[in-house]
Symmetry: C2
Subunit: 151 residues, 2 copies
DNA sequence: CCTTTTCCTACTTGTTCGGTGGGGTTGTGG
DNA sequence: CCACAACCCCACCGAACAAGTAGGAAAAGG
């Protein structure tokens, strides 16, 4: 259950774009520097986000990237899916495509529940994260000090 | 956010062992056949679980594997961690080791919340899954028909 | 025309994934 | 004590993926 560098970078870039909403297009170089990401690598990620319809771009002189929709209408989950495919997969397949037998039968509902819960958390909008105003259900999860410790 | 084949197989093997609790040791070959897993590959996984203290084994004539603890006292999360390392990692690092700046600052709490929610779901015991009696909070997540559909 | 910046394709290097094969070691039954 | 059944412990393998890198073509603006 790892979040890839692509996904992490994509979300951070999207947050940067959300924050610079009214400052016109943002250059890839500026985002890369602002977040400490390899510029060329980020360019590829932004390209995927453009193909996925999340951002738009303009070349030349004072070009750059901007969000295709308001930051309130883009979820973190969408960004991750855009650059990394399905949010949760088991052995490369989406949960509903799996079949289990015997005592493992109710493993499928468990994976489904897992996916639903991941979806719920990552359903937050870029605006909420950028403004540091996460929904109450999410902050509730971070309240427990044990959530911040490694097992 | 993918569950590897190792993790999936490990949990299924553990469930098989949980179900055969009172039938004495279970041979790797039997588990492999029962779950449609490559026998040699499974052997490696069971080896990891033994080193992790989750199962015990006996060689020779009618040897095999059995759970080291009652199935009520082993969580799915433990099994996955045993064979695959940390449950949730971002770019290979555990969330508390990350540092974000600027508009991405509250991305860290989001990853923490994500991990907490994953932990909550996978905290179920092998006994609960094997008996198909998931806790109410988990089944509640599977109630929504949308949880079963791909986006 | 010249600069800037995005866009595209290809390549690299290292690691992981899923799996296989062979041989050693320990236990049981005859 | 001997054969056999199982676990145990490597070593290896091909394919895929991850995280970048490099170089240039194409558009926009001055």
């Amino acid at each position: 259950m790892r979040i890839s560098a692509r996904a992490d970078y994509a979300v951070r870039a999207a947050l940067q774009l959300a924050a610079a909403r009214d400052a016109g297009p943002l250059k890839a170089e500026a985002i890369a520097e602002g977040q400490g990401i390899s510029h060329k690598f980020l360019e590829g990620i932004l390209g995927d986000m453009r193909k996925g319809g999340l951002v738009q771009s303009q070349r030349g002189g004072n070009g750059g990237y901007w969000l295709a929709r308001p930051a309130e209408a883009i979820s973190v989950a969408e960004v991750i899916r855009c650059v990394d495919g399905p949010l949760v997969s088991v052995r490369g397949e989406r949960p509903p495509d799996l079949a289990y037998t015997g005592p493992a039968e109710s493993l499928l509902p468990l994976w489904i529940a897992l996916r639903a819960s991941v979806r719920a958390v990552l359903g937050v909008s870029l605006a909420e994260v950028a403004a540091a105003e996460l929904p109450a259900e999410i902050t509730a999860l971070t309240r427990d000090p044990e959530a911040w410790t490694n097992p």
